[in-house]
C-alpha cells in the first residue's frame, strides 16, 4: 500500500467503499510522502499532520457507521495559501500577512468539508498570487518535482508541485490569468479554471476580482470533475457567484460516450514565442483528436496578442484597489517606524509587500490615475470586450478550443526573475480565457526531450464544463501521460 499517495480520488473512493483502506491510511501515506520529499520540493508553507489525522479518523468513524458522504469523504486535499481555513495561517506567501490567522472557512473549504474531504496544509504561491513561477513567495521557492532546477510555474506553484509529487491526493489553487493551468502544465498534472462565478470567491484573498477563480488540481480529469461538483454553486456571500446552467453531474456524465466534437485551433497560438517541442506536441494531440473522428476547424482569435497588455492593465488596476485594504491598521503587518497616520500606511505597505506586488500596485495606480485612466484602463476594458467577441464568434462554429497551455515547458529558476515582461508572457495562452470568463483545463500531453511535462489546454464555452471535461477526458484516457510520476 506504499503508493496510496499516487492514487486517484476515484481509485481511493472505491478502495474506501470496499473496506480495502481507510482515510487514516491514506492520510498517513500523504503525510509520510510529504515528510520524505518536501525538503526537496518545498511545496508546503505549513501543515498540521495531527489535525489532518483527526479529520481522517472522523471520516473513518462516519464510514464505519454507514454514513460515508461520497467520493471525497476521507480524501486529503492541499490548499493554496490564499484560501481561508478557520484557525489556520492565511499568509498569501506575504510578509504582510505573516501573522494573520483566518477566523473563518472560505465557502469552497466549507463545501469540501461538507463532502468529507480532509483539509491538508498550506501550499506555497507567488505573493498575493502575482507571478508565474512561485519565485515571488516571501518565504520559499518551490521546485518542479520533474526537475528540481526548474520552476513549478505559478502562481499556484505549491499546489501543482505537491500534486505532482504525491504530497496530496488533490489540491486547490486559484487562477486569475493562468495560475492553475500554467503550473499544472509545467508539473504534469490536471488543472482546471471554472467559468467565472461558478465557485464562490468568499474567503479567497482578492487579487483581481473580475478575473479570480478557485479551481482544482488533480491527477485525472474525472477527479477534477468530482472536486468541481463539490464546490460549485451560488453563494449568498459572493454576489458574483452564479447558479450554473446545464449539466453539473460532470463525473457521471463522463461515463456516457460523447463526441465526435468540432474543435477549434486558433492559429494565433502557434506563432512567435512558442517552444518548438511544445508546438510539435500540441499538433500531435490535435492530430489524435482528428483520428478519433473529431472535426478540426481553423479559427481565428485576432485580438489574442492584446490579451497580455489588457490583462496587466485590468488586473493591476483591480489589484491596486483590492490591496489598499492592507494598511497596517486592522490586521497584517504594521511598521514599527510609523510616526503618524500617513507613515503608518506608507511604511507598513513598503515593508510588508515584495517587489512584484509593489510593481503591480504602482502600475495599477498609474493606469487608474487622473489623465491616464482613459488611455489605459478604459481602453483595456474596451479591448477586453473585443477579446470576448473573438471567443463568442469562434464558439458559433466549434464545441471547444485546443491550444498549448504554456508557450514553453518549465524554465530554470532565476531565468526570468529580472525581466517582468518575459515573465508576463508565460501566461500568453491562458490570460484571454480569464478576460472572457470561460472555463479551461490543462491536461498532461507528453514530455520534452529533457523530460519536462507539456500541457494541452481545452477551452470550453461559458458553463460548458461538462463538454470540456468530456473532451479532455477522451485524450487523457487515450494516453498514459497522466500515470507518469516524477522520480524523487
Amino acid at each position: 500500500m506504499s503508493d496510496l499517495h499516487f492514487k486517484t480520488i476515484t481509485e481511493l473512493a472505491a478502495m474506501l467503499a470496499a473496506g480495502e483502506t481507510t482515510s487514516v491510511s491514506i492520510t498517513h501515506a500523504v503525510i509520510e510522502r510529504t515528510a520524505a520529499v518536501d525538503a526537496q520540493v518545498k511545496a508546503f508553507l505549513s501543515s498540521d499532520p495531527e489535525d489532518a489525522l483527526a479529520q481522517a479518523e472522523a471520516s473513518d468513524e462516519r464510514r464505519a457507521l454507514g454514513r460515508a458522504i461520497g467520493s471525497l469523504d476521507g480524501i486529503p486535499i492541499g490548499i493554496k495559501d490564499t484560501l481561508a481555513v478557520k484557525d489556520q495561517h492565511l499568509r498569501c506567501a506575504s510578509k504582510m500577512l505573516e501573522n494573520y490567522v483566518s477566523p473563518f472557512d472560505a465557502t469552497c473549504i466549507t463545501k469540501l468539508r461538507e463532502a468529507g474531504a480532509i483539509i491538508w496544509g498550506r501550499l506555497n504561491m507567488d505573493e498575493f498570487a502575482m507571478g508565474s513561477s512561485t519565485e515571488n513567495s516571501a518565504f520559499q521557492t518551490t521546485c518542479n518535482p520533474w526537475n528540481l532546477e526548474t520552476i513549478p510555474g505559478g502562481s499556484s506553484g505549491g499546489s501543482a508541485a505537491a500534486m505532482s509529487a504525491g504530497e496530496a491526493i488533490a489540491t486547490l489553487g486559484t487562477d486569475t490569468g493562468g495560475s492553475i493551468r500554467q503550473p499544472a502544465a509545467l508539473c504534469g498534472v490536471v488543472g482546471m479554471k471554472p467559468t467565472y462565478g461558478l465557485i464562490s470567491r468568499y474567503g479567497l484573498v482578492a487579487f483581481a476580482s473580475s478575473l479570480d477563480q478557485v479551481g482544482p488540481f488533480a491527477r485525472t480529469v474525472e477527479d477534477a470533475a468530482l472536486l468541481m461538483e463539490a464546490m460549485l454553486g451560488k453563494d449568498p456571500l459572493d454576489s458574483t457567484s452564479i447558479a450554473p446552467e446545464g449539466e453539473t453531474n460532470y463525473a457521471a456524465a463522463l461515463k456516457v460516450k460523447k463526441g465526435p466534437w468540432k474543435l477549434g485551433v486558433p492559429q494565433e497560438f502557434f506563432g512567435e514565442g512558442i517552444d518548438p517541442e511544445v508546438k510539435v506536441n500540441i499538433e500531435k494531440a490535435i492530430d489524435w483528436y482528428k483520428e478519433q473522428g473529431c472535426e478540426i476547424v481553423d479559427i481565428s482569435l485576432p485580438h489574442s496578442e492584446l490579451a497580455v497588455p489588457v490583462y496587466y492593465i485590468v488586473a493591476t488596476a483591480e489589484a491596486s484597489s483590492n490591496l489598499a485594504r492592507f494598511d497596517g491598521v486592522r490586521y497584517g503587518h504594521r511598521s514599527e517606524e510609523a510616526k503618524d497616520a500617513l507613515t503608518l500606511f506608507t511604511k507598513s505597505r513598503g515593508e510588508g509587500f515584495g517587489d512584484e506586488v509593489k510593481r503591480r500596485i504602482i502600475l495599477g495606480t498609474y493606469v487608474l490615475s487622473s489623465g491616464y485612466y482613459d488611455a489605459y484602463y478604459l481602453r483595456a476594458q474596451k479591448v477586453r470586450r473585443r477579446i470576448l467577441g473573438d471567443f463568442e464568434k469562434a464558439f458559433e462554429q466549434v464545441d471547444a478550443i485546443l491550444t498549448p497551455t504554456s508557450p514553453t515547458p518549465a524554465f530554470n529558476r532565476g531565468e526570468r526573475a529580472n525581466d517582468p515582461l518575459a515573465m508576463y508572457l508565460s501566461d500568453v495562452y491562458t490570460i484571454s480565457v480569464n478576460l472572457a470568463g470561460l472555463p479551461a483545463i490543462s491536461i498532461p500531453s507528453g514530455f520534452t526531450e529533457r523530460g519536462l511535462p507539456i500541457g494541452l489546454q481545452v477551452i470550453g464555452k461559458a458553463f460548458g464544463e461538462a463538454d470540456m471535461f468530456a473532451i479532455a477526458n477522451a485524450f487523457e484516457q487515450g494516453h498514459d501521460y497522466y500515470k507518469a510520476v516524477p522520480a524523487l
Partner: protein, 97 residues
C-alpha cells in the same frame, strides 16, 4: 500614449501610499517604462463605440433581502487581529493634533 511613456514613480507611490527605497524606484522605473511601451499595442485596435467590459458576465447590483444582519464575530476576535489593540479597540498613531 504616442510619446515614450514614463511613470513618475514618486507621484504614483504617493497615490498608492507605498514607501519605496531609491534603489527600488530606479529598478522599477526602467521595468515599468518597458511594460508601458508594451501596452502601446492597445492603440492598434479600433475601439470606437465599444462598450467597456468590467466583468465576465452581465451583473447587476444585488440588494440583501430584509435587513436582518447575519451572525458576525465577537469584537475581541476582530480587534484581536489588529497589530495593536486596547479595550476592544484598534490603537493607531495620533491622527489629529
Amino acid at each position: 500614449m504616442s510619446e515614450t511613456p514614463h511613470i513618475d514613480i514618486d507621484y504614483v507611490a504617493k497615490l498608492a501610499r507605498l514607501d519605496m527605497t531609491e534603489e527600488e524606484k530606479s529598478k522599477l522605473g526602467a521595468q515599468l517604462d518597458d511594460i508601458l511601451g508594451y501596452f502601446d499595442k492597445l492603440n492598434s485596435v479600433d475601439v470606437e463605440g465599444v462598450e467597456p467590459m468590467a466583468h465576465a458576465h452581465r451583473v447587476t447590483n444585488v440588494w440583501r433581502e430584509g435587513d436582518q444582519p447575519d451572525e458576525t464575530y465577537a469584537p475581541e476576535i476582530l480587534t484581536g487581529m489588529a497589530p495593536d489593540q486596547r479595550d476592544n479597540q484598534v490603537v493607531v498613531p495620533k491622527v489629529v493634533e
